[in-house]
C-alpha cells in the first residue's frame, strides 16, 4: 500500500507548526506499513491527483495568502473535480479561508477564494488567539491553537467541523468551528492539529487507502500519549 500527500504551497503557507500535520500523516501511515510519498506543489507547478492522494494546505501570513490566491484559482478546477470524487483533504487557517468564496482583508482588498466551501471571511480588528477546544460529532473532542483575525460565517446548510467549547472558532459569535464537505476538513486549528487529534489523521489516511483497496482496514495504534497531550492542552488558557 502506498499513499501520497500532496502539500500545496509548503514554501508560502507554512506557519505555526502546520508541518506537524504532514509529519503525523506520514508517521501514522508508516507505523501501519503504508508507504508515503510527499509531493510539494508551489506556484506555477502542475497539479494532478491520483488514487490514494491526501491534499494538505496550511496557513500563511496575509502576504503569503495574496501570492497563492491567484495561483490557487488556476488550480481550482482540478481540486474541485478531485473533491467531488472523494479526495481527502485538510486545509488550515489561511488555506481554509481561500477554500471559501473570498477573504476581505483589513485593507479592504478582496482576495478571491476557490468557492469550494460556501462561506465568506472578513478581517476584523480582533485577533482571535488561544487554545481552542471543539466538540465534533464525527471525531469527538478536538484541540488546537487558533490565531486569526478573519471572521468566517458558514452558509445555513453547511456542516461545521464542531461546536466550540472553549475559544473563538470561525468567528466570535456563533460558536461553530471549521467545516466539513465530502472528505474535506477545513479548520482554524493550528497546534499542530493532527498530532493531538489522531482520529482526524486516521480518517484522512483511511479515506486515501480505501481508494486503492476498498477492503482496507486501519490497524489500531496506541494513542495514549496523543490523548494525554490532547487532554492536557484542553486545560490550558
Amino acid at each position: 500500500m502506498k499513499i501520497r500527500i500532496v502539500h500545496l504551497y509548503p514554501d508560502l503557507m507554512n506557519i505555526y507548526g502546520d508541518i506537524g500535520n504532514i509529519i503525523a500523516l506520514k508517521k501514522r501511515s508508516e507505523w501501519r506499513s503504508i508507504e508515503v510519498e510527499i509531493k510539494n506543489i508551489s506556484t506555477n507547478d502542475k497539479l494532478e491527483f491520483k488514487k490514494g492522494d491526501i491534499l494538505f494546505m496550511g496557513g500563511g501570513q496575509d502576504r503569503g495568502q495574496l501570492l497563492v490566491a491567484s495561483d490557487l484559482n488556476k488550480k481550482s478546477q482540478i481540486i474541485k473535480k478531485a473533491i467531488i470524487s472523494g479526495l481527502p483533504a485538510l486545509v488550515i487557517c489561511g488555506a481554509y479561508q481561500l477554500f471559501g468564496k473570498y477573504f476581505l482583508t483589513d485593507k479592504k482588498v478582496k482576495i478571491p477564494g476557490i468557492n469550494i466551501f460556501d462561506f465568506t471571511t472578513v478581517a476584523s480588528n480582533q485577533r482571535m488567539i488561544g487554545n481552542i477546544v471543539v466538540d465534533s460529532q464525527k471525531f469527538g473532542r478536538l484541540i488546537g491553537f487558533e490565531n486569526h483575525s478573519g471572521q468566517t460565517v458558514l452558509a445555513n446548510n453547511s456542516q461545521a467541523l464542531g461546536k466550540v467549547i472553549k475559544g473563538f472558532g470561525n468567528n466570535n459569535k456563533d460558536k461553530f468551528e471549521g467545516m466539513i464537505l465530502n472528505n474535506v476538513i477545513g479548520t482554524y486549528m493550528h497546534g499542530s492539529f493532527l498530532p493531538k487529534n489522531p482520529k482526524v489523521t486516521d480518517f484522512l489516511i483511511a479515506k486515501a487507502a480505501k481508494k486503492i483497496d476498498p477492503n482496507f482496514k486501519l490497524k489500531k495504534l496506541d494513542d495514549s500519549l496523543e490523548n494525554q497531550a490532547n487532554q492536557f492542552a484542553a486545560s490550558r488558557p
Partner: protein, 455 residues
Amino acid sequence: MLFISLILGKITLFFNRLTGSGGSAMPGLAVEKINSNFIEFLAVKNFPKGVILITGTNGKTTTSKMIAGILDKAGISYLHNRAGSNLPRGIASAMIGASSILGKIKADIGLFEVDEAAIPKLTLMLQPKIILVTNLFRDQLDRYGELDKTARLFKQAFEQSNAAICLNSDDPLVAGLSLGLSKKHISFYGVSDYPDQLLDDLHSIDVTTSPVSSSKLVYSKRYFGHVGIYETENQDFKRPKPDVELVKLKKSDINRSEFIIKINETLEKINLPLAGLYNIYNSLAATAVASKLGIRGKIIIDTLNHISPAFGRMEIIKYYDRNLYLLLIKNPTGLNQIIQTFLLKKPNTPVLIIINDNIADGRDVSWLWDSAVEAISKNKGPMLVSGIRAYDMGLRLKYAGVKNFLIEPDINLALRKIVEITPKNKPAFILPTYTAMLNIRAKIVKKSEAKEFWK
C-alpha cells in the same frame, strides 16, 4: 508629579527586593500606571551619549551583554536593563532603580534590550542614537500577530527616527528594513564564510520572498532558517554588503569559535569563548554597534575574546558535581541551533527539555513542530521531557522517531532524575523555555555560586 512617580517606583523596588521576588518589571508597572511620560522624561534628561536599543527575535540578551562589556572596557558608563525585562515597564524599572530622587541617572549611555513589540513606542519615546535589529523569526507569534506586520511597524518607527540603524545583512526581512532609509544611517553586519547548515528543513523557514515584491529568494548559502547569502529571482533585492563582515572562519566547536572579521577594511582576529553561529552573529552585532559609537577595534576584540555567557544562555553551572549546560530555547530556529551546536556534537550526553507555555514563553507551542527534532532521533544519550507542556514535547519526540524518552512533568523530579543519570563531572544539556529556565536556574543556583540575576 514626576517626583511622586519616582518615589513610588523606588518604594515598590525596595519591597520587591525585600521579599526576594526579584520581579524586575513591578516598579516600572507601578509608575507607568500613574505617569506614562515618565520614561521619556528620564531618558531625555539623562544619557549624554545617547540611548541604544537592541531588538530582534534571537540574541538580544547576549549581544547586550557583549556591548556592556565593551563599554566597560572603554570606560563609558551605562545603564542596562540587565534582568531581561524588556518591555517599557522593565526599562522604566531600570531607570527608577538607578535614578536619584531628583531624577538624575549617572550613566553616559542607556543600553536597553527591547521586545520587538515595544520598538515602535520606545523609538518615539527614547529618541535612540542607535537601534540594532538582530534577526526576525517566528517567536511567540500569538502575541505579535505576524512577522511581516512586525517588520512593517519597525519600518514606520525608523522612518520617524534619526537613529543609526545596525542591521543583520543575512536576514532578508531585517536587511529589507533599510529600504527607503538614508544610507548614512545604516550599517550592516554579516557572515560571508561559514559552512551551509542543512539541518533546517523547509518548514522552519519564515521568509521566502523579497521584502519588496513576490519574487522568491534564492540562496547561494543558507546558514539557518532564512538567514544566509541570498538574492531574489528577479534581482530586485540582494544581501547588502556588510560593513562588519566575517570573512574567514578558522575553527568552531562546542566551546568556542575563531574567526577573522573585516571592519572598515581592517582585518581583526576574534577568539570567541562561546559556541555556535548565533553567538558569532551576536559578536558581529556588538561590533557594529561599538564601531558606530567610535570605540576602537582593539577594545572590542579584547572584550569579545573574554566574554562569558549571558544568563541562562549556554551557562555551565556545577550542580552536585555535574556540569549542567543551561541552553535557553524560544523558537524553532534557536532550538535548531542548540541541536546543531550541542546535541549533535555530543550525542551521548543526557538531555532534559522543559517546555512551559506561560505568557513569557508564548502560549502557542506549535513551534515545536517547526524545529528539526528528527535530527536527534539517532542520539544515544538518555532523554527527559518536563514542564507544563511535557506531553506536547513527548509527542513531538515520538513523531520524530526518538525512542526511550521519559516524560516527567514535575520540574523538581525531572532535575533530580537528570542528575541521577548523569555521571559525576560529566555534562548534561538542559533546554528550557524562558519561564522554565527561571524556575530551574533558581533551583540550581541555590546549590552553586552563580549570582542571582537581578544583582
